[in-house]
């Protein structure tokens, strides 16, 4: 039984991953940059992980650059692209992740051109505007494959069609990889992902970029690791764990997606039956594991705290420094009614979530809301 409904924040590592990480740390492996046998063993482990990750997203192993996570990968693409294309621009949307938006802010403060596109109620940007912007100058169009707060999945065909040649389509696949089909086909320039979102270890992730997609100036300089894209001794144990998690995700993903979609609809049904004023934010064709809703009363801080006191972990959206829920920029960006803006609650499921967990969460949620509405 699991009362953890915050897989979009981080997914508990699978036991196979924990074992692989422990083995990688315990084994007699050297520095992958070393010539000797211990170094070769380390290189072999990293090569295996690289192949496993490439297989998950249909990329070539040589396209994979291991990083500390999607935040670093997004930084590497945006900053690396900007440094290589001084006359270019960053194009993103107002509902994207902080690792894209804050990096864009920093680039803009340093004089780089940035376009933040608004989105409609289905999280779609203005594709014609992307076409116009990318026709003018080389742009990195950086947006989520799947939005972690709202659960919306990007319309890849429309997006890819709107990016003119000479620009890079970069997709932050942190919430998508290992959960839905993420394919590195000819339309996609690069992907960012984090292992801990698909039950791998924290502190491991990757930038996957099609060869020749664009020129990139590395952020970290030093040794020649990762083909010169990311200097520094490799996070061997993390990378090994990432590889194992990628293999498990590739195997289980489709069955899990079906199972979680059914659980998500069961949860929504149980809540919506009792609370007709509940607003559903995550769409039916969105992330299978994510149900994001908004309510006017009580506010999300109360819901998250009250459910925590009952032992359930849910979220009010992306975390902030103080740990306090803030009005969601995603809710604002989607143009939802003002009275719902401080009432976002995200329930995200995963491997260990069962039907009875969902039923118990629904019951606890309803009693928390009923108590608060009585108190008013």
């Amino acid at each position: 039984m699991s009362r953890y409904f915050d897989y979009n924040a981080t997914a508990p590592a699978r036991p196979e991953v924990v074992a692989a990480v422990a083995d990688a740390m315990a084994e007699d492996v050297g520095n992958p940059s070393s010539m000797h046998a211990a170094g070769r063993r380390a290189r072999a482990l990293i090569d295996d992980a690289r192949a496993a990750l490439a297989a998950l997203v249909g990329a070539e192993p040589r396209d994979v650059t291991f990083t500390s996570g999607a935040t670093e990968a997004n930084n590497l693409v945006l900053r690396g692209f900007a440094a290589a294309h001084p006359d270019g621009a960053v194009v993103t949307t107002v509902i994207d992740h902080a690792s894209i938006l804050a990096t864009a802010d920093a680039l803009e403060a340093a004089g780089y051109r940035v376009e933040r596109l608004s989105v409609d109620a289905s999280a779609r940007p203005d594709y014609a505007r992307i076409r116009a912007l990318t026709a003018e100058r080389p742009c990195v169009v950086a947006t989520s494959w799947a939005n972690g707060e709202s659960g919306h999945v990007a319309d890849l065909a429309a997006l890819a069609h709107s990016v003119a040649p000479g620009s890079l389509l970069h997709l932050d696949a942190a919430q998508a990889a290992g959960r839905i089909d993420v394919r590195m086909d000819a339309r996609v320039g690069s992907l960012a992902l984090s292992a801990h979102k698909f039950a791998g270890p924290r502190g491991a992730g990757a930038l996957i970029m099609r060869r020749g997609a664009t020129e990139l100036v590395p952020m970290l300089t030093g040794g020649p690791q990762e083909s010169g894209r990311r200097a520094g001794t490799e996070n061997l144990a993390g990378i090994v764990g990432l590889g194992v998690a990628a293999t498990l995700a590739a195997r289980d993903m489709h069955a899990e997606a079906q199972r979680l979609t059914a659980l998500r609809e069961r949860l929504w049904g149980a809540l919506a039956r009792e609370l007709p004023d509940l607003l559903r934010i995550s769409p039916a064709d969105g992330l299978p594991n994510t149900l994001t809703i908004a309510l006017v009363r009580p506010t999300s801080d109360v819901v998250v705290a009250a459910l925590d006191l009952e032992g359930f972990a849910v979220s009010a959206g992306a975390a902030c420094a103080a740990g306090a829920p803030e009005p969601s920029h995603v809710v604002r960006g989607l143009g939802l009614p003002a009275e719902y803006r401080i009432g976002l609650v995200r329930m995200s499921m995963g491997r260990d979530t069962t039907r009875s967990d969902v039923d118990e969460l629904a019951a606890a949620f309803l009693s928390v809301v009923a108590r608060a509405r009585q108190a008013a």
Binding site: T299, D301, V302, A306, A321, A322, G323, P325, R371, A372
Partner: protein
Amino acid sequence: MSVNGGFEKDAPGGGAAGDGSGKHAPDANRRGPRERVVVAMSGGVDSSVAAALLVEHGFDVVGISMRLAPEADGSRASSGCCSLEDFRDAERVARRIGIPHYVFDMRAEFERSVIGAFVDEYLAGRTPSPCILCNREIKFGLLRAKAADLGAQRIATGHYARSSFEGGRWRLRRGRDDAKDQSYFLFELGQAELAGTLFPVGDMTKDQVRCTAERLGLGVAGKPDSQEICFVADGRYADFVERAAAARVRAGRLVSEDGRELGRHAGVHRFTVGQRKGLGIAASEPLYVKRIDASSADVVVAPRRATAVAGFAAGGVSWVAGVAERDATPLEVRIRHKHRPAPARVFHDAGSRVRVLFDVAQDGVSPGQAAVFYRGDEVVGGAWIEREENAACA
């Protein structure tokens, strides 16, 4: 550790039923679920000890830190309250005493109901009391409502004040520690608020509170006291007002009581009645601000002997008991936080207005400040000073 007087457990209206004698065993010793109490935790020593004492007495304690000031985002060093660092302290204390702790973002409400009024009051030539507004609107308003949403019928704070149920109603009294008493800031609490509030440190001295923090290893025993106005970290109120509302600042004249211009000033928000420093005028004897007229932007100054006033008119009167004291009742009236309450009579006026006549004229009667009415240790009510009055009114 004895159960303190500021710690009433069994009176009606609170979370537990009882006859109001306060003699029953604590709730926690009864069968059935423990009473849930939400503690407002600033990360300082007073609210930390308040939370720890409630845990010792068996309550189901939930700690909540309120994010209030707009700059409390880690971009500044600790301002003594509400900084990221203080939230971490609160969280450490909560972990130490084994209670859940949450940070709630109340910046929007605080900005609207406390900071906005603070700026408006200064620009209107008055001296605001933001802590009293914060208590009414935020701690005993919004937080109490959220606590109820969480299933807590009572909240607790680290205020140095005492409450008790006597003679069929809730009473509010000064804190045991005279130097730390905060009852002035709580005069707008009524029966419902007092029934739903615990003041666990109200019966202790600051030294006892620090010793308790030390004894329990809370790690905050030596933290300095927070300053009075948490959202103006550097204490420069005038600069804060200018940053918040530059377009509304009006320069004006410094004038004598007979209307002679003695100098110029950069805005009425820079002055408080009774202020001596920073007037920037040379005179044969020290001059004090006597009156501020925001409509003409005139600041009237006078020598010390001319600044005392016989009384004042006040509005927005509030009575702790819920009903007014008899007309012309002799009470002691405190006209600012550190003021020694002065004997006076309080006369009813139209609506929610009163007129206060001191037995002996007082200095520093500042429009915008609260006048709090005491009978000995007990706070019976208070009102907001509107203007001085020198004509006899009784």
